[in-house]
């Protein structure tokens, strides 16, 4: 199988033959088919294969698998947490980031470890290579180049009108269908996508790539009757590095010592001294002038599709907040790339005006554009039509992940992709679907927000979305997710599991060792020198209590008690973080427990709320009927829901099955 797959991939990559040739090598049936080779698709395919499902990844161009189609960076505040969690569940993007990063920094370093944002600028080429070679070496995974024309679904069951079952896909070339009981769609911006630049519009989901998947759109909208909405996004022009006067921009150095994303890595591929800097510059009044003069030549900006409030084009920023200076980051595209990526200058005006605009910025006064910026508008499937396993409620075996669900960002896509892949694999292997709790992970928060509340603009992760932010930290993602990922989900390999278990046990021992050293405050002061402790002289404090103090480090304690603590040096940072946050997390654990138990009570998707024989007000019935929450927990968070309504639903779910919750 592996040999055949290698052949297939090499065949396509090397000779660019059409998919028809390729399909000769493919089987006619897979456990899981993943459509799309972006961040969601690659994670989905790899996760399904790790689970043990025979998986096929279909992409328009094998060359672009793992391509970073927008910004050359990964992670950040909130997004970095997602990367750590995807890694903890043995996904790809964390390790890919470590292999491709050329500028690592922990954002929010001064604001507390719970909100640290691991981030890296990436070398596009290295990222793509890592993802491609990783997929190549994944057992049970086949990659096929081709365009999907049609999603094959069963006729609706007469007893359950509107309910379908996925049976497979058919490629554009009209060859034989490829059958599968699980299909994951990760088509990004390609669903009825159109590209905008100046006054020209063309169909497509990304410049330079094939057109949108019209057949898929038809199946989703017409056959399956899914509700869709329209969103827009955009990308900036790419600038020739040589043409930029970097002496007029402010240099932003990376961290001296890069911190890897992955729990498996102790260092990054890029050596500390090989890292590249970023540059910071600002817009000028001239930029605003060009935007105002070009509004009438700019179709995209005149459309009313919802764009992200936090990633607006330079046009929207200037028009919404006039008279201000806006930041522009000039980011490297890679070690050997001759391009710079101007973060913050996404624009859709005609190319000649883009050049005029750039040149209004001092550092860019001689800038040359390699490829102009453009806008994309695309359909997304309203994600309230999905279950927490990311399966379409009305279609057994159909899973959606990434921008098709209304999100934005690589990390958000990767997180959903992984989880959709897990559930597609489980479904194919006749295992029950699983959900992630919002009390345990940002991935859980992301999915719960999507399926529980829907989106009105491209959804991006922020730490402020997580109720239990002090627990959902980047440092403990492995403890939160890896053991269960192995024991219950099946998406974690043995190697990673063993590592996480040994870390967990080591930390546990270290915490006990810390608690075992107890002294009076006076004695601690004697041991550690002049530290300020608020407690009375006679109060007895153990090492863990002491570690909560701002000025006390694990190293200080270990030098005071070398015999019992020095063996835990490798955990010193994690122990410090754990000591500071533990009391707060414990205070929240009751609330967490309540949310988890309510999340675990699932509400059947076909429940007839309007005639449910329990006493609910008409108003509450209508809310429930409209949103169709998946769990009692989601119902509780609905605006307009009453405590009495919750009790009645609680009563109802007693008679129905329980969904397994991670």
């Amino acid at each position: 199988m592996l040999a055949q797959k290698l052949h297939l991939l090499r065949h396509n990559v090397l000779s660019f033959v059409s998919s028809r040739t390729g399909s000769d090598f493919t089987r006619r049936q897979y456990d899981v088919i993943v459509v799309g080779g972006g961040h969601a698709g690659t994670e989905a395919a790899a996760a399904a294969a790790r689970l043990g499902a025979e998986t096929l990844l279909i992409t328009q161009k094998i060359m672009t698998i793992g391509a970073l189609s927008c910004n050359p960076s990964l992670g950040g505040v909130g997004k970095g947490q997602l990367v750590r969690e995807v890694d903890a569940l043995d996904g790809l993007c964390g390790r890919a980031g470590d292999a491709a990063g050329v500028h690592f920094s922990i954002l929010n370093r001064s604001k507390g470890p719970a909100v640290w944002g691991p981030r890296a600028q990436l070398d596009r080429e290295r990222y793509r290579q890592f993802i491609q070679s990783e997929l190549l070496s994944t057992p049970r995974l086949t990659v096929l180049e081709g365009s999907v024309d049609e999603l094959l679904v069963s006729q609706p069951n007469p007893e359950e009108p509107g309910h379908h079952r996925v049976t497979g896909i058919r490629l554009v070339d009209g060859s034989h269908p490829i059958l599968s009981s699980s299909v994951v769609l990760t088509t990004g911006t390609f669903l009825s996508g159109s590209l905008f630049m100046g006054q020209t519009t063309s169909p497509g989901g990304r410049m330079g790539d094939a057109q949108s998947c019209a057949g898929l759109s038809y199946t989703l909208k017409e056959t399956l009757g899914l509700r869709v909405g329209r969103l827009r996004t955009g990308t900036p022009p790419r600038i020739v590095k040589e043409s930029v006067d970097l002496s007029l921009a402010q240099l932003q150095a990376p961290d001296k010592q890069p911190t890897p994303f992955s729990f498996l890595n102790t260092h990054t591929r890029c050596k500390p001294e090989e890292q590249l800097p970023c540059y910071l510059t600002h817009t000028t009044p001239g930029v605003e002038r060009v935007v105002r003069e070009s509004v009438h030549l700019n179709c995209h900006i005149q459309q009313d599709a919802k764009g992200p409030r936090y990633c607006p084009s330079i046009e929207s920023r200037v028009l919404r907040f006039p008279g201000r200076r806006h930041q522009v980051w000039l980011e490297p595209e890679g070690l050997t790339s001759d391009l710079l990526y101007p973060q913050g200058l996404s624009m859709t005006m005609p190319p000649e005006l883009q050049l005029r605009l750039l040149r209004e910025i001092p550092a860019l006064h001689r800038a040359e554009i390699r490829t102009p910026g453009y806008g994309v508008q695309y359909d997304f499937v309203c994600p309230t039509q999905l279950t927490p396993s990311l399966q379409v409620k009305s279609t057994q075996g159909l899973f959606l992940a990434g921008q098709i669900n209304g999100t934005t960002g690589y990390e958000e896509a990767a997180a959903q992709g992984l989880w959709a892949g897990v559930n597609a694999g489980r479904t194919a292997l006749s295992l029950p679907p699983m959900a992630l709790s919002r009390t345990q992970s940002y991935i859980g928060v992301l999915i719960d927000d999507l399926v529980g509340r829907g989106v009105t603009e491209p959804y991006r992760m922020f730490t402020s979305r997580a109720e239990f932010r002090t627990y959902l930290r980047p440092d403990n993602a492995d403890l939160r997710l890896t053991p269960r990922g192995f024991e219950e989900v099946g998406c974690v390999t043995l190697r990673r599991y063993k590592k996480a278990v040994s870390v967990r046990d080591g930390l546990q021992e270290a915490l006990m060792a810390l608690q075992s050293v107890a002294l009076s405050s006076t004695r601690w002061r004697e041991k550690l020198g002049n530290i300020s402790l608020s407690e009375n002289k006679s109060t007895t404090l153990n090492g863990l209590d002491l570690l909560q103090y701002k000025d006390v480090s694990f190293e200080m304690l270990a030098s005071a008690f070398p015999e019992c603590l020095s063996q835990y040096f490798e955990y010193s940072q994690r122990l410090k973080i754990e000591a500071v946050y533990r009391p707060h997390c414990e205070k929240q654990s009751r609330e967490m427990e309540r949310i988890r138990s309510e999340e675990s009570l699932s509400l059947p998707s076909d429940m007839d709320y309007l005639s449910l024989p329990v006493s609910l007000s008409q108003e509450v019935r209508e809310i429930l009927d409209r949103v169709r929450p998946n769990t009692l927990g989601a119902a509780t968070r609905l605006p307009g829901m009453t405590p009495a309504g919750i009790i009645h639903l609680l009563n109802y779910v007693l008679r129905t099955g329980f969904m397994h919750m991670l």
């Binding site: 909130g78 507390g112 990633c311 009790i647």
Partner: protein
Amino acid sequence: TDAYLYSQSSVCDAETIFALSSGHGRCGVAVVRVSGPASSMVLRNMAGLTQALPPPRTALLRRITDPKSKELLDRGLVLWFKGPHSFTGEDSAEFHIHGGPAVITAVLQALGSLEGVRPAEAGEFTRRAFHAGKLGLTEVEGLGDLIHAETEAQRRQALRQMDGELGRLYQDWSYRLKRCLAHVEAFIDFSEDELIEDGVLNQVDSSVRQLETEIERHLKDERRGERLRTGVQVVIAGATNAGKSSLLNTHRVPPSRGTTRRPLVEREGVRRARQRVEQADLTLVVVDSTQLPPDPQLVAAFLQQHLSTVLPSPEAGMTAASDKVLLVLNKSDLVPEEQRERTEGELRERPGLPPACFLSCSTSTGLEDFLTVLQSRVKTLCGDPLSGAPSLTQARHRAHLQQSVQALNQYHQYRDQDLALAAEGVRLALTHLGRITGRVGAEEILDIIFRDFCIGK
């Protein structure tokens, strides 16, 4: 599997809740239920049980005292239920106390002042019981209706209050706290990539401090302070020669702190008189005892009739039975002893009539008793801002406001050390305030962030 993180926490950190579980309004006995790990502590502190707890499920007659002031609140039955053998499956306690609003309010406020103990949300007992597997289907169904009724009542009461000054005050706090949180969150989520104006946290510092001061001040005096400052408006009303001026001029009405005395002269005209009465906190209706019907059985009807001419119409919220009225039967020295006693007996606890006191301004007979009644009325007025309505909601508000202030302390404590933990303080404060003014979701905070800042990573 992550046992080392949260091994015992779900048990030892559970919050303890309390609620009045008998119906609202006047009743003979009221039952206050407490559930959660601190129940035994509550019982020890409030029922003076220094040694062993009573055997489970056995009623014990105890003095119930305020744990802080040690003031006696009531004498009543206490019961102890050791978990899991209780309604909720947790350690629980019950206080069976006298049903008057004053006693209930005092006990609830005392409970709310204990650390780790808070008023229950609607339906919370039931939900705990359910999660402990203590409820069957029919019970859940039945309780759903009960909670519905309870929530409705709370909602109506909250609405009434939210219309008023108090509501505006809470809403204003909530709005300001939301902005504080939004600005801290913006600083956490965006300041690395965006131009977040310098000093945004300094502004939050001072806003939080200002809020703390205001809420604390409110907790200290509430409208009691307002009343004390502006005085309790007492109006003396009555027919010519009934003895209004004499009552005022006895000068033996003690100058109860903050009490202003305002004679109402009949010349001012009936309309104006009624207006004054309407605005008053307390009206003393003075009647000439010699004008009362000699037959004691006819006195009640006579007084009823008389009150209706003095007091404003019932639509104005003023009825003869209102707590805001006292009847003073003056010139008692001119009425035969026997007739007075029989009339007194007839009027005692007469529904639809305010308390009546026989009194003689010239001989001072009965003055002492009258003053006792008057004092207790003034005290109630000053002590209870909702004047009359059982202030259950008020006890809830107090507890949430107190917790809000405590949470805001956490903001300052961690401000320079760990902004995530500092923000947690503001989040928690808003959650508590939100239990009064309505829940605040993450989206609402993001809306403020995007409105107030130009975020464009």
